[in-house]
Assembly symmetry: C2
Homo-oligomer: 130 residues x 2
């Protein structure tokens, strides 16, 4: 299954690359639709899945049951605001020891782990204190 060029996929990738807010499939859809009014949600999903499989973007889970997408595939952490639902990157050096720690006294094979943080984002925190 060789990949073929598609303007829709290019637009999706292009749009995502400009974003730091980790859009959902639906957010990608409503935005890309401005350029391709006939694009379908199915196409957006298919391409996001494809791009995630080839490693060009990453699919992230922050516990709200909705997949978010991130053009930055380097290892880093995410935070989601419980109030407004926004997703942000977290600068946080990571020791990489967590998986090894977990591997001790476990009879299976640990391939990786996911960690995310939650709380109130800067804006919502400020709004609450006023």
């Amino acid at each position: 299954m060789a990949l073929k060029y598609s303007r829709q996929r290019e637009a999706i990738k292009e749009f995502l690359s400009t974003r730091k807010d980790h859009p959902t499939a639906d957010m990608v859809y409503t935005q890309v639709r401005k350029e391709f009014p006939n694009i379908s949600l199915g196409t957006v999903y298919r391409n996001l899945t494809l791009l995630a499989e080839t490693g060009e973007i990453s699919r992230i889970n922050v516990g709200d049951g909705i997949d978010h997408f991130d053009p930055d595939t380097s290892e880093h952490y995410h935070f989601q605001c419980k109030k407004c639902g926004c997703v942000q990157d977290l600068k946080l050096e990571h020791t990489g020891k967590t998986n090894e720690l977990a591997a001790m006294q476990f009879d299976g094979e640990i391939m990786g782990s996911v960690t995310y943080f939650y709380g109130l984002c800067g804006k919502c925190k400020e709004a609450r204190n006023s």
Copy 2:
């Protein structure tokens, strides 16, 4: 909204308390149905949600998009097998994430974090090597 006794809720809680495999709502449903053939999935969901809200059980997310439920509400980590989907507890002393938390520059308020591990469980690992 005072809580009233219900046999269904009691059966759900009772069933869950015997399990270490972190059942999904559907697994709880098919089991409890043996005792209450007329119980509905809606009732199971309502009660699981209720029990999670009162803190009697905990709702856990291991990234597969399906909620699992755990009678053990103490803080601990989970592992999910990518092959068979089973969920297991991980013995793992706290990784000092709190320190990392304190160390970072973030303008919001971090209330907590979720970490889970994935890979191959003991059985699936063995099956692969044979």
